[in-house]
Point group: C2
Chain length 116, copies 2
């Protein structure tokens, strides 16, 4: 089994969260689950994300081998993002996050509100 300490993580959960955590990556991956998406398409879906952040996050996902970037040499430019085969391995995890969120997030949010 992998020695996570060697990579600076205290356990595999920490490593996983380092890879798909953060404010945007989970959402980006979620939208890529049902197929390739263009840059502006992802931007619209994410709503509040800025161009800068979308680019940065996509670059990291690409570096980590999770997302593939396909550039079409056209004018106007066209770039499509899709999950790599390796990225597909995240599918059950993303779906479970969505599932948990749908069933439990409201409880947490109401709790937070009642204490503010």
């Amino acid at each position: 089994m992998t020695d996570f300490k060697a990579y600076g993580y205290s356990c595999s959960v920490a490593a996983t969260l380092d890879i798909i955590g953060g404010k945007w990556k989970g959402v980006i991956l979620f939208y890529l689950l049902d197929g390739k998406k263009r840059f502006n398409e992802l931007k619209r879906l994410n709503g509040e994300i800025t161009q800068r952040m979308l680019t940065l996050q996509l670059r990291e996902l690409e570096r980590d081998g999770i997302v593939h970037r396909e550039i079409y040499k056209e004018i106007p430019p066209k770039v499509e993002y899709s999950l790599t085969e390796f990225g597909q391995s995240l599918k059950p995890l993303i779906l479970m996050m969505r599932e948990w969120g749908e069933h439990h997030v409201e409880y947490v949010m109401e709790k937070r509100k009642n204490e503010a």
Copy 2:
């Protein structure tokens, strides 16, 4: 189904990651899966975490109803942290994160290294 936009999230995955994401929460939850733990016990297990961060993260988990804080009125002080019943709902998710990490993190880390 919950309206995540109303809470400022673009989808349920984003909300879930906001609750259990970050550098430490996943690990803390992971260690709490197999029963209650004392403060210093969690600190040792997490290795690199500072007292300050451990306290902050535990407070947030407590606020969100995920972790229960039991204070024993003794000297020296004794505090035990455990998952609430609500917190138990995260168990499959945490376990899946661990699972994914164990099988795939090494690939990502080697890839990062070869490009640095």
